[in-house]
Symmetry: D2
Subunit: 495 residues, 4 copies
């Protein structure tokens, strides 16, 4: 059942793909008879936000149906016979990346409960920073948790509210929750979407004919031909039912501090966030980097595929240098592969990348990537380019150093593992083995996002992973050294 335990998958992923990882994608639709199929397509477009597991809950006016599974959307929802078990015109779905909660079937979202007012399903992207404390309180009151997911805390809070309607219950429940999140929920006849009061995680509203759609990113609208209406506001609860769209501000204080890393790496380049094109934003970061850290003697600009491509195009264009595919990516990389013996263990990174030797032999290259987390991959790529004959390698990173873990829904290593937390830029340069290394500045990053620069008093984004400036409460983690929380006495064989 659980062939890819969370830890191992994360580890493999860390070795092969040295990035922060988004923790989830969510999707919801109201008012289309093929709601589950459209949800599967939407989740497919959001697959980059989570590949470990996925699930859909649908409602057909009488009955709620669910299907969940480990693996990709196309592994679990590609057959019509599965979609047919999920009838109805309202559906929500979730892509999961391994974060809190073990990698078991029980933990796959959406979470569903049969509550006193009827069925209630929830999927969320993000992380609750007081889930552990709330869970303890709920268990003391007789609540029985079936999963170790913090999403289940929300369902129990809604179940225990004495308010009458599901919306009133949500309004009562949410202010007790801390953290960064965007959630979609289904109840009898309703699709509901809520963002945390800082709007850390994204949630967009769209339309497809008479139907309404909620999704983490607009690329999920494009795949089904839906049109973008607007982003949901921080702290806003959007309710879609037979009466149309109703909106309500759930929190007394709400203020936008959107996750800046969505622009740097997470979001798909063809998505819009806050009315910005992600692709154009990345090109501008690359251009900003060309200004801040020029490299006039270089022969060409080479991206680390695929995440470094837009900023490399931006850099090359601003610097007047040729843009070349100096590294070729194998499109058939699966999650795991044999690392056969010590003799050939060092081959690791080549499973995914190969140097395009003719392009780089004897050349001085600007190598553009979006971030350096542990540095393992960068080091291997540089080694590979040297072996293929690169004369000089000048690395440019389209993000300031990632020095701090994130508590708001991003999978980051512990502080100890973050290279920039342990080393200065010069040490990293030596560790990676490049001739020069530069990161875009935090102000430069803000400028690329059309802000005059970061305002220390009131930053316009959540940049805690870069600045260490945690503006949202992190109750469960105060005084802790890592992000791990023990949430259950239950260890499970496979279910």
């Amino acid at each position: 059942m659980n062939n890819a335990p969370a830890e191992t998958a994360a580890e493999t992923s860390a070795l092969e793909d040295d990035h922060f990882h988004d923790e989830c994608g969510v999707f919801g639709i109201w008012g289309n008879d093929d709601a589950s199929a459209l949800t599967a397509l939407g989740l497919h477009a959001l697959q980059h936000r989570g590949q470990e597991a996925c699930g859909i809950v649908a409602y057909d006016g009488a009955v709620f149906s669910a299907h969940r599974g480990m693996g990709l959307v196309s592994d679990n929802f590609s057959s019509r016979s599965i979609i047919d078990t999920l009838p109805g015109s309202i559906a929500i779905g979730h892509n999961r990346y391994a974060t809190c909660g073990a990698a078991t079937l029980r933990n796959i979202q959406p979470i569903f409960g049969d509550l006193s007012f009827g069925g209630f399903g929830v999927a969320h992207n993000g992380n609750l920073t007081n889930a552990y404390k709330l869970r303890e309180q709920l268990v003391s009151g007789g609540a029985i948790f079936q999963s170790t997911s913090d999403t289940e805390v929300i369902v129990h809070l809604v179940a225990r509210s004495h308010k009458k309607t599901v919306n009133e219950r949500i309004v009562e429940a949410l202010p007790t929750i801390e953290g960064g999140y965007a959630l979609v929920a289904v109840a009898e006849g309703k699709l509901i979407g809520v963002r945390d009061p800082f709007g850390v995680r994204p949630l967009c509203l769209g339309r497809l004919g008479d139907a309404y759609v909620l999704a983490s990113e607009t690329c999920a609208f494009d795949i089904i031909g839906a049109s973008y209406i607007r982003d949901s506001e921080p702290g806003e609860m959007v309710t879609i039912d037979a009466l149309g769209i109703t909106t309500q501000q759930v929190f007394k204080e709400a203020q936008s501090r959107f996750c800046i890393f969505e622009y740097v790496y997470f979001a798909r380049p063809d998505s819009h966030l806050e009315n910005r094109s992600v692709y154009e934003a990345r090109k501008r970061i690359g251009a900003e980097l060309a200004v801040e850290a020029p490299c006039p003697t270089a022969d060409l600009v080479v991206p680390v595929p695929d995440s470094g491509v837009p900023s490399a195009i931006g850099y090359a264009s601003a610097a007047g240098l040729p843009f070349e595919l100096g590294i070729i990516r194998n499109h058939y990389v699966g999650r795991t592969f044999i690392e056969p013996t010590d003799q050939i263990r060092h081959l690791g990174v080549k499973l995914k990348h190969n140097a395009n030797a003719d392009v780089i032999r004897g050349k001085s290259i600007v190598l553009v990537d979006d971030s350096i987390v542990r540095g393992t991959t960068s080091r291997k790529i540089v080694e590979m380019l040297r072996a293929a004959g690169a004369r000089e390698i000048h690395m440019r990173i389209s993000c300031p150093p990632t020095k701090h873990p994130c508590f708001y829904g991003i999978d980051t290593p512990t502080s100890d593992e973050l290279l920039a937390n342990r080393m200065g830029v010069d040490e990293i340069k030596d560790y990676i083995g490049v001739d020069s290394l530069a990161y875009v500045s935090l102000d430069g990053l803000y400028r690329a996002l059309n802000k005059p620069g970061r305002d220390g008093q009131s930053p316009q984004f959540c940049d805690a992973c870069l600045s260490g400036d945690d503006r949202c409460p992190i109750t469960d983690f105060e005084g802790r050294e890592d992000r791990t929380r023990r949430v259950s006495a239950m260890a499970s064989g496979d279910d």
Copy 2:
């Protein structure tokens, strides 16, 4: 996941195997380092009590572990690698036959909850007759049910109790529950067993070295070499922990009315129940039947294999007739098989049985079976024996007519489907196509169990399926025509 939905399996089973079906087997052990392996062996010995699914929960002094799966014990627990995920010296296990609750992974017992006092796992054999009402009350109070199993009601009642210890909570919870049940539970350091106040379902206590064992039948002791101590008493809670065995009567009024059908069909012939050998009891029923319904002109006695064998031996011995295997059973019968086309659909019963033509050709035979439920199988067997040349067929049934459904944990068809509810003995004789038909009398059955006969005022057994005399409350079913209860708004794709 759920390849054999409950309804279909029951239907198939009804066609191929026209019997009442026991609904579960339970097993628990305290104090052996290989607790899970011994539990798997115990469940294997109890496999006849439920073949749809099975599960084990173990406790190793710190952590609870669980594994559950659809199918047989040998399908799910035959590899050491699975057993090794279930460490500890305390374990409970469960074999499930499809009854209430859909055939999904979520419904497989043991049910586990992470409660405020620690982990708590429960497995039970039986049926709660007010589970629906209790569930409604609990959901109104904010409880979230993950399964549709009535076992989960028990866990929620224990979770909501304000008492301090798990035993006090069970004592508070159980009197609100109605029905016939035997349950085993595991909490931190404890193995607990409870029977309902009428002791309808069986539960035995045994010992293996320093370890203690609880099981539905003694054959589960034999397989691991444990010795039998005694049956648990009606209404008794047995607690085994570091202090040894503690016993407590949970109910104000408790009175033995053990399920008489365990003797007729359910229990394995090599088990002991209430100090009676099941095999010897069945032989005595056969002998009683030979006295009540003799067949002096017959040539031989033939059992319907395998359930009719002991009573056929008893009948043959009492009647002085030869005992012969006139029907041979195929040992490789799986759950399902092609019923290829209309042309050969009538072959059904032969997948399992074949006439031993040389033995029966031209003979007058006494055909002994334990019960006739729908009559479908009996009719096909008789037709097969006629085709093989039997001259006369005198059918003898080692149980009175089964006229009433059971509400205490046995899977019975609706009243309409029960042949004896619709027809008199003569009509059944004609329907089945035999030359004569006789059932043992209810008094005869009591005599075979060493009672002078049934006392209408105070029957010593629960014989409601035979007499219609429901002595235990059946709140959920009052005024209902069938045993079906809708317990959830949730329909599930596969999880």
Copy 3:
């Protein structure tokens, strides 16, 4: 694919089930539109002859189709969607027990070849005793073997014949083959059956309406309602096509020496062989044993289930003693199960059998079984009965000591492993741990089969495993100590 390699399965089987094992069952049908479904049913009835793998080849007048798989017939052919891939009115099928040829998909019969005259499929039960030598000759001539099965030798001989018709080619090919076999073959429009010139392995001819059927045993006729016509003769080739049945004697010298062990153990008791009822034959062996080795002080007769039942009934009846089920078999025994730790390893045999303690406690019992091969199971059963309180155990075996390996299609251990090859009866008695031990004599066995006794000059049966009298040539094994032959340089991962 190959989770149960041949060696391991044989070993497990040897431990749990100490018997000689038949090596295959074959089935063929001509002239029914649902030929594959009927073949699946026929194979299901023959499942006792081989449980490792099974396959069907069908012909629809234009195209041959095949499906094969590891496991039981019901595992591989229970869905209509599989049967529908095997259209046509002619089909042959095969059940395989692990013998020569590794347990891979490639080795599963029927073997099929696309020959110059058209498609040709063969399934056979038995063993060729010069297959290795023939294979070497064929490979030298450029033949390419895809399997390690000796059946493929037959296909190559037919392919290389220069005769025109498939029948002429078979007639040319067969005299070069030595061994004991019964084969069924399908070619365009034809079903063909052949037995070796000694008729060692069984093959019966039946009819179902306008269709004709060939099968290893008559129980395969019963399951589909076909009627028995006659046994195929030693050395006879039966051809069924649009012209009806044609018969031809392929060998110059043919003489019946049918495998006596089919009567002792292999065949199902409800089958007929050579016009004898197997069940009645076994009862007569039991009666013969009661005369040769009486046990007047015993209280009851107990069979080792299920193979010892008919002879125990025969013994009990002849001796005037009660027949009782003193050992109960668990019907849910799979192939393997955890043998968890040394602590509980000795539980082995109880997975399958349990003593019925009330029946045997304090009693002197006659324990009847059909054979003792290695003695491992017998020893454990006796130990179990002693532990359950048996006072005296007198073992009676319905077959003479099995001292010699078989080369004609039966899976037997090496001589060293055969207990009767190493020990005399008294030693075996002590090893098994019984109070007395007796085997039926070889003459007694012949008498039970209605012969005056074994005639040393011209035995009416092949009894080489009992007498050591190999009357058929065994070219490949001359001077060898065991039955193992290396037939290929190819070891296969899984295909």
Copy 4:
């Protein structure tokens, strides 16, 4: 087993990915103790040449081992436990794309035979154009074919040769074979590679320490750190054994006519072929196209990802236009996905591609792709770009019109399906819906490959798919309208 039958996969592929498809990749290694693991890695690097199935045969000095499976290399060879079943220092491997031979396990290469001189395994990339005729001759001579693959013809020819050594037999066998192929073979102690006399399909020779390597492309050397030695010559047989490398010209007349489409589309851009960088060649084709078909009013150049990227970079650079990712590809596209209902069936192409609307809105774009086969994908992409707001779309194709099917190992549609066979450029322009359309000329393509232009008398490449000029014999297909050949009377359920 066979979840993706050849026809369906081809169809899906045609709809989603409108390209000619390469038919296989081959790999072989001699002299490394981890030969199978290195072969798996090499096949992984060659995955783009065939995704339907893969296999490896290894030789350890005594025994040959094989493993094959449907699906990707990482699906079948990612676990050490599989690799461990393939011991030895010599191994060959194969990636298969669906071409001739049904998609069954039997047809997966390498094909292995246990011949009179020992084991012999072969894997080949290409297509034999007289395989059908040869097969008929071989079957007449008694050969039994197990697969429908034309590779098996080679094995039979080698088996039937009367020469002594495997090399002599190959030399005898190959001249009877027609077609384009590159094959690798393993025999006892030897690795052998052969190319057809025209060198249509690629085969390169490399070195890794003391080991030698053969592969379809050099990217398979890079992944294991092997160095490139040279391309194998047309008609050359390379033998690697304990004596080192031996080379022999097998054919009297050999002349290079390498497949020009390897440069256009098949090969990975980081591979070298005939000492040319594929990436640089594609850039030069793009530049040639910018000269032949300029588009001075365009705003930007957009590639169809990923195959159009290098030529788009070349075009943009030559034309002085910006290069932009105007189409974003979803990296998680599997083989199949629900096409849920008619309502959303038109979404097809978006599963793989999405328009990057901000980049193209209101712009005049040059859209660069490598080929138009059926035109279905191009049409959908253009429609998608129009919907996203593109003002003008000028399509440029880096290959002349593909008017003819290929008989030398490339999977092409029938002539009828080839758009350029039915329509002129103007019609195609209208069908695709672009504002202008131009293909590079055949002479332009030759120039980009550093030739002065195509010489009609003696073309330096095989360009039959573009020119219709079939210079190699195509016996099986003379007078036929399509590439389909019936090679077997056997249709197979799943094996």
